[in-house]
Symmetry: C2
Subunit: 500 residues, 2 copies
């Protein structure tokens, strides 16, 4: 009965030699992919057509285990690589997703096979130690006392934002965890102040955690689309008059639409005075801390209560790899509370002391720190700093290029590697609605043409084109090529509408 | 200025040939690891000692990028593999984490390098199509009408449980998302009924989402540690008398402590009558659906509202890979609500229709379906069914072995691959507290000895030893060896205390 050995194909699926063969297939495909520096955007395929192609690669249902088929694996990998976002191509300028440092991909591969869950020290010892080391390494650019702060890894910036906001909620309303929001009916309602351009995950967190989106106090922005410091006190006073108790202020270090950095130092002065928890969503921009050139954009970061930092964006690691920092170590225990005898021990010891299961949302958690730590161990800070500096400088140059083009208008001075602009074709007199529509149509047309991938964002109520420079293989020349594509697309659209 | 090309070491870090070299180092190490069938548990190292070893592998801080060092990478991988949970060894019986099918690890490697975020169709087309295909494939064992249900992938069972519970909350309390919990002060309070042995993530979710742990209605268990159907109506009636409005009942298909399957069919009859959302946490046990032998343990699954299914447990994929099923497609849109012009389009089209960003918590989401789909495409259902059948049969056999040993007592008849028992050394007359202490001490001693890894769980108030059979390389012989280790450990502990 216990003769699994009687089932040769089950054992074969776990065979080490078969593993090597299939891994070599993957390595060859990926090597080719990384070497391909052609300019390409998306190859969009209709889902039904792609589903047919995928179905054709599947075995018929059978009572016996299918034999391994290297050609099928090769075909699957080809289809997978080809139909996705081409983060390693210079044609990719559309999103904040990152082309990974290959070494990071290789270490993540080790994680995929050894499958160590990292919420518990005993199950993944090196990842837990590496988390402590990376926390100390990165804190060199924040500046807290060693051993006074905490860092946990979690599965993405949205989860880190929720976790920090829970810690803030539970600090000011310690009975919220047990009693729930309904207990707060008659009292001032818990509320959260946010920059008007904060990431959607923050508004979502308010809905998730029972605060309610109506209790989001939106802070006004200045011309640079940062939180306008002068508007904060009045907004908080108005919230208080409305019967709200603002327990947390969420600002951004790199907003998603334009990459604006909110004035952390000034905001911290206000939140400290008022006893409000200051959380910084630095998912995109916290990585600028490792750059001597750009660190100052996060001036005051040592004063904040918590910070979300996505290493899978500007630290170029496989996703997800999010770091959540707390200024005060004890606060890291505030987000969640629970007992579970099968994972939590009665008596902590030097080993369980490193467990993060009580500090992060996940029970099973990928050892996401390993690619980042290995890249840091091998290449050092300089790899990240130099790439970030290049990407920001490239974005500045793109901005200068646009300034010299009469049919393009920039909408902000880029603080990092995100740049938004609109195309105003010469001779076309468009109203706001037409201008909005044109930008979207241009984005779509460029996307479907397949050479470049750019995105769009609404600024005010009018769409803008948006590039995010995540790839150091992109040069100013590529950006000029995109402008050519945009012009061509704009002409075609206007012609088809009889506007020119 | 845009001369990244001037920095050779930056380009070198992304070099395709270097990628191949480092990947081959990883493949060799992993091949050896998979081929190693020695019996081993954990090699526990003091965190400080391990931190020293890890620090020694790091480059000095420098302004220039470190050169790639293959020996350093090899040393890091060695340390990583050696110091983690040995899921591929027959000595590993301690947790629900899985030794992955190597092919799944290889495909996950592709994901690590191509880094396609899968919340949006355009960014990861094949993962999005593969999700639809796997939803249909697995629904063959659930039984819903095609196109009437929905499935989303998400980063772990805890997040899937939270997501389903949010959808349930928002269905019964549509204004909760906007108004928040404080709006419900005077009305019956929202509450959630749970089996007393439900996973800690469910209680945690109640705290997270503003329901409050005090509004958890704990349903009594029968002798098999399943929810006692006879006790459900009285418990719900009592909750109503206390002013609670139970909107969701969470039952388990495979509880974490003992792997008990709650009676889904009978529970569904009650929840349907009362209009309560029935969510099944099948993180561990939903995979039994693919087995003809064990499917019946989830009888009635077609009646539930939602189901959490961790493929990274009994489908042996790299973690995390969680599937969340909804019986009614429209409900999958209920958990979250948001607008964000940079990711969500105004006008859905055949492409954006497949986006899951509005249905799952994450913005950046790993294309976690790809390993599962590829394994399914190549090996078919039989691989999973045969391994599951073997593991459950092995656990039954372990139970029979214990029944024949006078110094061991089983605590339940295993329904899946989890087995809990206590060691009662012959001749030792222990009170409850001593018995509790002894099991914990035995677990610790076995763990530190390093040959086998078993876990513990409190049953009643007394600790029990717990094995989880996740590895098909384990045989009854290995289980007999563990019993020997346990006996030896028990003797040593009692001797040291002068009890024998």
């Amino acid at each position: 009965m216990t003769e699994a050995t009687g089932n040769g194909l089950l054992l074969e699926a776990f065979d080490a030699q078969l593993f090597r063969d299939s891994a070599e297939t993957a390595v060859s495909k990926l090597e080719k992919h990384l070497a391909d520096q052609s300019i390409r955007g998306l190859e969009l395929i209709h889902p039904q057509e792609l589903a047919r192609a995928a179905r054709a690669l599947m075995s018929e249902d059978s009572d016996s285990i299918g034999a391994f088929d290297e050609e099928k694996l090769a075909a699957i990998i080809d289809l997978y690589v080809r139909t996705g976002i081409q983060v390693h191509s210079p044609g990719y300028m559309g999103r904040q997703f990152s082309g990974v440092v290959p070494l990071g991909g290789v270490v993540d591969f080790v994680s995929s096979v050894v499958n160590q869950p990292s919420s518990f020290y005993e199950a993944g010892q090196l990842p837990n130690v590496a988390e402590r080391i990376m926390a100390d390494e990165l804190n060199r650019f924040i500046g807290w006392e060693p051993d006074s702060f905490a860092m946990v890894t979690t599965s993405g910036g949205s989860l880190a934002n929720l976790t920090a906001m829970l810690a803030a909620r539970n600090r000011d309303f310690p009975q919220y965890w047990t009693e729930g929001g309904a207990a707060f009916g008659d009292r001032p309602r818990p509320a959260i102040a946010v920059g008007a351009d904060v990431h959607y995950s923050v508004a979502r967190a308010a809905g998730v955690m029972g605060i309610g989106e109506a209790q989001l106090v939106r802070l006004p922005l200045n011309d640079a689309q940062q939180i306008d410091v002068a508007g904060v006190r009045p907004a908080l006073a108005e919230a208080e008059r409305r019967g709200l108790h603002v327990f947390c202020l969420v600002a951004s270090a790199g907003t998603t639409p334009v990459g604006a950095f909110d004035p952390i130092d000034e905001l911290a002065d206000i939140t400290r005075e008022k006893g409000i928890w200051l959380h910084i969503d630095g998912a995109h921009g916290a990585s600028l801390l490792v750059s001597d050139t750009h660190r100052d954009k996060l001036r005051g970061i040592e004063k904040v209560d918590s910070l979300t930092w996505d290493a899978h964006k500007m630290m170029f690691t496989p996703a997800p790899c999010t770091l959540l920092f707390y200024r005060e170590k004890a606060h890291s225990l505030g987000a969640f509370r629970q007992t579970a005898s099968y994972v939590f021990d009665e008596e902590p010891d030097p080993f369980t002391e490193l467990d993060s299961g009580d500090k992060n949302f996940e029970c099973t958690k990928r050892p996401m720190i390993m690619p980042l730590w290995t890249m840091w161990a091998v290449y050092g800070r300089a790899l990240f700093a130099k790439k970030i500096d290049y990407l920001c400088a490239l974005t500045q140059e793109a901005h200068r290029i646009l300034d010299g083009e009469p049919d393009f208008r920039t909408l902000h001075s880029p603080e990092a590697n995100i740049l938004c602009f609109r195309h105003h074709p010469e001779g076309a007199d468009l109203d706001e609605e037409e201008l909005h529509r044109l930008q979207i149509d241009i984005r779509d047309r460029v996307k479907h043409r397949g050479s470049f991938f750019i995105s769009k964002v609404d600024i005010g109520s009018v769409a803008a084109l948006r590039v995010v420079m995540m790839n150091h293989q992109i040069t100013a020349e590529h950006f000029r090529m995109v402008l050519g594509e945009i012009r061509r697309a704009g002409q075609e659209i206007l012609s088809s509408k009889g506007r020119r």
